[in-house]
């Protein structure tokens, strides 16, 4: 249902603004850091023929934590319900979408229409990828905001994107706290990681030792 939601007019505006303030960047290349992968050991690459730890094969594992979209539970779900949320699944929309909407209207003081728009994009709560679109359009929520590849890139400033969507004047002037990318609540003024990501696998930068 979320994938079919017609919110294009609103979210296209959000995509445009996110681009303007530079936190929905879909084009900046990752700075190569050859040492990140070059320093790795080359491990054994064969499949484990013997499944070397069969002694635990009968265990049942109960979910302890869960994350799909960044910020959904952290920003919009009551702390008292985080433990429950961590043990849920993306398809538990009926329980949690109303809580997200209640945050947007109640705590943030925004219109119900905005709450509905954001809820329909964020639930079911998972990172949505549209592989039929160009990889150059990848970025958090771009599948809904800009007819893009979606997913979540390492360089995405998801904090600012979330703050702009919830608190800014972009999608609605009613109850807005700030203009996109501006203080007090529509940016955290941290726009990039402290070290460059690698352009090659495993992409994340080498650990700080």
């Amino acid at each position: 249902m979320t994938w079919k939601t017609d919110v294009r007019a609103l979210v296209a505006a959000l995509a445009l603004a996110v681009g303007i303030v530079g936190c929905g960047d879909t084009t900046s290349p990752r700075s190569p850091t050859p040492s990140a992968s070059a320093s790795l050991d080359r491990g054994n690459s064969q499949a484990d023929q013997n499944d070397d730890d069969q002694g635990d094969d009968d265990l049942i594992y109960d979910q302890t934590d869960f994350l799909g979209n960044p910020l959904v539970s952290e920003v919009t779900i009551s702390k008292a319900n985080h433990a429950l949320y961590n043990k849920t699944q993306p398809y538990n929309t009926a329980t949690f979408l109303p809580q997200t909407a209640a945050f947007v209207t109640g705590v943030a003081g925004r219109p119900a229409a905005l709450a509905q728009t954001l809820g329909s994009v964020l639930y079911p709560d998972m990172l949505v990828v549209d592989p039929s679109k160009s990889p150059s359009t990848a970025g958090w929520l771009s599948w809904a905001l800009a007819n893009g590849w979606g997913g979540r890139k390492l360089t995405d400033d998801v904090v600012d994107t979330g703050l702009i969507a919830i608190f800014s004047s972009l999608l609605s002037p009613t109850g807005a706290s700030c203009a996109p990318g501006q203080l007090p609540l529509c940016t955290d003024n941290v726009g990039a990681n402290d070290v460059a990501f690698s352009s090659t696998f495993p992409y994340l930068a080498a650990p700080h030792m």
Binding site: D48, D51, L71, E74, G151, V190, H208
Partner: protein, 238 residues
């Protein structure tokens, strides 16, 4: 209008425990057992066309540099998974399962999947059969069908002024550590130049998988949307 907005925020924040912008240490359970903390999940195009990268970042507490013993939870206690819905119902059609054996500095990772899971939902058992990839942590591993796997410590890729966040909303701060000492501040983030990336210089335990995108979709001839999420799970009774 600004005054009304500010007043609404004050009332709202004073009467609720809401608003946080990272999934680090978000409940007492994962704060006390940081290996079970899913920090971040990513899905992005690989550097080579037609391939996708999935990342499950875990094992805070936002591990400071020089932490002596980076480690994943072992298979007798913990299961790490990436789950994929590729038909739009929000339920997992494919899963990757990652398990670990051994002690810090000498751990091995075993990956099963992407495969249809044995169960849908929050109580899971291990996939049977030959693993897709197995080998040491902190190494680039590969399979014959073009999957790459890395599991080990990496720079925490997230960036946020977490101190400012907790000054805005101190009721969301963790119960231990330096962030627990933060007190109420103004309802504003800090100006550029004063804002600080709290997780600069920190590591997490990352699981990174790169594979042909065709392995993630229901019909490779007509690829359509898929959704990704990450989980950690605790072995029942252990």
């Amino acid at each position: 209008m600004p005054a009304v907005v500010a007043g609404g925020l004050v009332v709202g924040l004073a009467t609720s425990n809401r608003l946080r912008a990272s999934d680090h240490q978000d409940t007492p359970e994962v704060e006390l057992s940081p290996r079970y903390d899913v920090n971040d999940v990513y899905a992005f195009p690989a550097s080579m066309p037609g391939r996708t990268v999935l990342v499950l970042g875990t094992s805070s507490p936002i591990t400071p540099a020089k932490t002596a013993s980076f480690t994943f939870g072992t298979k007798d206690q913990e299961l790490y998974q990436l789950k994929v819905d590729n038909n739009g119902d929000g339920k997992e059609d494919l899963v990757f399962q990652f398990t670990f054996t051994g002690t810090a500095g000498h751990q091995r990772v075993t990956m099963h999947g992407p495969m249809k899971p044995s169960e849908i939902g929050t109580a899971n058992t291990l996939l049977h059969g030959k693993s897709t990839i197995a080998g040491p942590t902190n190494a680039v591993l590969g399979s014959a069908d073009g999957i790459q796997l890395f599991a080990g410590p990496r720079d925490d890729p997230f960036f946020i002024d977490l101190e400012a966040f907790f000054r805005v909303l101190p009721d969301r701060k963790p119960s231990t550590g330096p962030l627990s000492q933060i007190t109420q501040g103004p309802l504003s983030f800090r100006p550029a130049g004063q804002a600080v990336d709290f997780v600069r210089g920190f590591n997490d335990m990352a699981i990174v998988v790169e594979l042909p995108t065709s392995m993630l979709v229901s019909d490779p001839a007509h690829p359509s949307k898929f959704g990704v999420w990450g989980t950690t799970s605790r072995a029942r009774g252990n």
